[in-house]
């Protein structure tokens, strides 16, 4: 069964500094990987996805993620953090063999706190 681990409950970074939110996955075969962001009392917003191709994926709001197959990781990054980036970030994986194609398996989330 597929799974996702987000080892950090919280990441703290100063505004203007680069940020990284870590994610590792476990799935048989080539995974489909996603990052979502959740603001307080809101639903999830899609940031970016890796399906195939270039290991560096660019997404919304200046975020990017790097797929590393050998390390089974898909870390979320941004070169310069904004206070408005403070939110809860979820990594998710979908097994490409899964006929129930909407089923995503989410990590437990990482809270990003960007200080002014």
């Amino acid at each position: 069964a597929q799974s996702v681990a987000q080892p950090e409950d919280q990441v703290n970074v100063a505004e203007g500094n680069p940020l990284t939110v870590k994610c590792t996955y476990s799935v048989s075969g080539n995974p489909y990987l996603f990052w979502y962001v959740q603001y307080p009392n809101r639903g999830l917003q899609f940031l970016l996805k890796y399906i195939t191709g270039d290991n560096l994926v660019k997404g919304s709001y200046g975020f990017e993620a790097e797929f590393n197959k050998s390390q089974t990781s898909f870390h979320l990054k941004k070169p310069s953090a904004l206070v408005s980036d403070s939110a809860l970030y979820f990594c998710a994986v979908r097994d490409p063999r899964n006929t129930g194609f909407q089923k995503l398996v989410f990590g437990t989330g990482t809270r990003l706190l960007v200080s002014p």
Partner: protein, 115 residues
């Protein structure tokens, strides 16, 4: 273009009661799934509907049931509520022809509190 809309936004029930949550998918989307997000946790897949049929189910008891209507909207029903059912219930939609590579679009959720 309206996104995924859910109702009600908040509700309070007591143990043993039944609840129905509603979801309208984003325009052009024909597939709907439901997720449960307990406090401090990531969302967990409940089930998915396409063409008015349940296509896949997560590890949830039969107390959780659903329905999809011809206009693609959906309902989630939970019977015999338990305290542990307190959570944010998220509806997600996507167009079926995007298949496995398409991202999901989420509503803002229905927050259920069971007392």
């Amino acid at each position: 273009d309206a996104g995924v809309t859910q109702s009600p936004t908040h509700l309070i029930k007591t143990r043993g009661q039944q609840v129905t949550l509603r979801c309208s998918p984003k325009s052009g989307h024909d597939t709907v799934s439901w997720y449960q997000q307990a406090l401090g946790q990531g969302p967990q897949f409940i089930f998915q509907y396409y063409e008015e049929e349940e296509r896949q189910r997560g590890n949830f008891p039969d107390r959780f049931s659903g329905h999809q209507f011809p206009n693609y909207s959906s309902e989630l029903n939970v019977n015999a509520l338990l305290l542990g059912d307190s959570a944010l219930y998220l509806c997600a939609s996507s167009p079926q022809d995007r298949g496995r590579t398409g991202e999901l679009f989420f509503g803002e959720g229905s927050r259920l509190t069971v007392l």
